[in-house]
């Protein structure tokens, strides 16, 4: 094994430029995949945390009277796994609005009557998806006294659509870059093989087995994959450290938004994938050459 590693390192050294190009290509592919994974991991976490509340506001019709509240609560409880139902009267709602708009509350004083509806704020105990919340909200909306239900369907739905679109783009880009890296790796191995054709012919004449001949190429492919993966991760980490604090600060005034780097498992998965890429490129190339 040491012999094969030494041989592979010597080959990498003698074809420095070609190997450098391959390693950089692999690292760029890994970088693209990692950027998407970083985005998905963080976006998923944000969506999860937003969803965690599982909150919905139920706005009631003007015919609502306080004596209807117990019955309404019972009805809502039968529709889903509700953790808490809080009644917010129209008066409380207006007071809260005035408080929130303290600087611009002058126009609220001009109102002759309170335009806000009575409302119920509910929090679901558990749910698995946004669709589940949506379905639950629709069943509440069907209650006669309920005017409307708001559960973030606008922005959350839109965000999920963008997120899913990004996911598809991400998969497409990752596949494309994977194929490019695979092609470059396979081509490097092919060139290395042809540049050593005479050497391989001599090795065969002195009794080298095919395994003995192929092994250094595989080691070379694995090393290229590993180095490409490491380089890609290092570039991502540097970029992350430079950019993440800025993004966190920009979002700090709107929400708690904490960008995290890829988990150890994901990094290990990416490096393994990169090593596989090097090996697979080598495998395809040798399979074709030695056919």
């Amino acid at each position: 094994m040491i012999h094969f590693v030494k041989k592979a390192l010597a080959d990498i050294h003698s074809n420095r430029f070609l190997n450098l190009i391959t390693i950089i290509t692999i690292s760029l592919s890994i970088l693209v995949v990692s950027v998407f994974l970083l985005f998905f991991e963080n976006a998923s976490r944000v969506i999860e945390s937003w969803n965690k509340g599982g909150r919905a506001m139920i706005y009631l019709k003007s015919e609502f009277r306080m004596d209807m509240l117990p019955k309404l609560k019972v009805k809502i409880n039968t529709l889903g796994d509700i953790d808490e139902i809080v009644y917010i009267s129209k008066t409380q709602a207006l007071d809260k609005l005035k408080k929130n708009m303290s600087s611009q509350s002058a126009f609220l004083k001009t109102l002759k009557e309170n335009p806000l509806p009575d409302a119920l704020e509910i929090r679901m105990k558990s749910y698995n998806s946004f669709e589940e919340v949506q379905k639950f909200a629709q069943s509440i909306k069907a209650i006669e006294i309920v005017e409307d239900v708001e559960y973030g369907q606008g922005w959350l739905g839109r965000f999920l659509k963008i997120f899913n679109l990004f996911k598809i783009t991400g998969y497409a880009m990752c596949t494309l870059f994977f194929l490019i890296a695979l092609f470059i790796t396979a081509n490097t191995v092919r060139l290395a093989f042809y540049s050593r054709k005479r050497e391989i012919e001599i090795m065969r004449l002195v009794g080298a087995t095919e395994t003995f001949i192929k092994a250094p190429f595989y080691v070379e492919g694995l090393l290229q994959g590993f180095l490409g993966g490491i380089l890609g991760m290092v570039i991502l980490l540097i970029t992350y450290l430079a950019v993440s604090s800025g993004i966190t600060q920009s979002f700090a005034s709107y929400m708690y938004f904490d960008i995290r780097f890829l988990s150890v498992q994901t990094i290990a998965l990416i490096i393994t994938g990169s090593i596989f890429l090097g090996w697979f490129g080598c495998y395809l190339s040798l399979k074709q050459i030695l056919k």
Binding site: S14, E199, M203
Partner: protein, 231 residues
């Protein structure tokens, strides 16, 4: 022309023919070579001498006939077994076939590396053979920096380092001056004396005068024309 079979035969050819397209390069060759024998295969250029040698180490396959080497039928050897057959041979070529970007030491060591020998054994054995051949001081040199004679000496060292039972030499002195040719020939005789079977393909009949007891197999137009014992 046929040859009598012998119990000590290490190489046996039965009615071997080789065709390249429509052209017959070897025709009906039957030959027995004894263990420890020195054989010269001579004849004019294009007679089929090198083809005969290539068939023995399976660089080419015989179109017809049977070849037995040490009891192994070459027609039945799978590609996975081929390297193990080749390890029984030490091969020397007119164009040396040395790896240009590997040192003299690495070229010779390759034979033992492919055989899976331990590094300590390889070091000892390679340096010992290089000393015998007078190339120990140039063990770090790359083949292109050596003269033709020196390169062929390295090729001889590579051929004998694995202590093969058969040495196949295809025009080993073809591109060398007389002095270098004599050194190569003396080295081969040395290994022949130690018991190796040596087959030398050459069109240079001058070589035959300077050797020990041997047989000369004369080939012309793909067939054996004459087998003569030289004392």
């Amino acid at each position: 022309m046929n040859d009598k079979s012998n119990k000590n035969s290490i190489i046996r050819l039965f009615n071997v023919s080789k065709r390249f397209g429509g052209k017959l390069a070897l025709k009906d060759i039957t030959l027995d070579i004894e263990q420890g024998e020195l054989i010269f295969i001579s004849g004019p250029s294009g007679a089929g001498k090198s083809t005969l040698l290539k068939i023995l180490y399976l660089a080419e396959k015989a179109s017809e006939g049977q070849i037995l080497i040490g009891g192994m039928n070459l027609a039945r050897i799978s590609s996975s077994k081929l390297p193990f057959l080749r390890r029984r041979f030490g091969m020397i070529f007119q164009d040396f076939k040395l790896i240009p970007n590997r040192t003299v030491y690495e070229n010779v060591a390759l034979v033992l590396e492919v055989a899976g020998e331990k590094p300590s054994f390889i070091r000892k054995k390679v340096m010992q053979v290089l000393r015998t051949i007078g190339m120990e001081k140039k063990f770090k040199a790359l083949p292109p920096t050596l003269s033709g004679g020196e390169q062929q000496r390295v090729a001889v060292a590579r051929a004998v380092v694995g202590q093969p039972s058969i040495i196949l030499a295809d025009e080993p002195t073809g591109s060398l001056d007389l002095k270098s040719a004599q050194i190569i020939l003396d080295s081969l005789m040395e290994y022949h004396k130690k018991g190796a079977t040596v087959l030398i393909v050459s069109h240079n009949l001058h070589l035959l005068e300077s050797t020990v007891r041997s047989r000369n197999v004369e080939i012309s137009e793909g067939t054996i024309k004459r087998i003569a014992t030289i004392c």
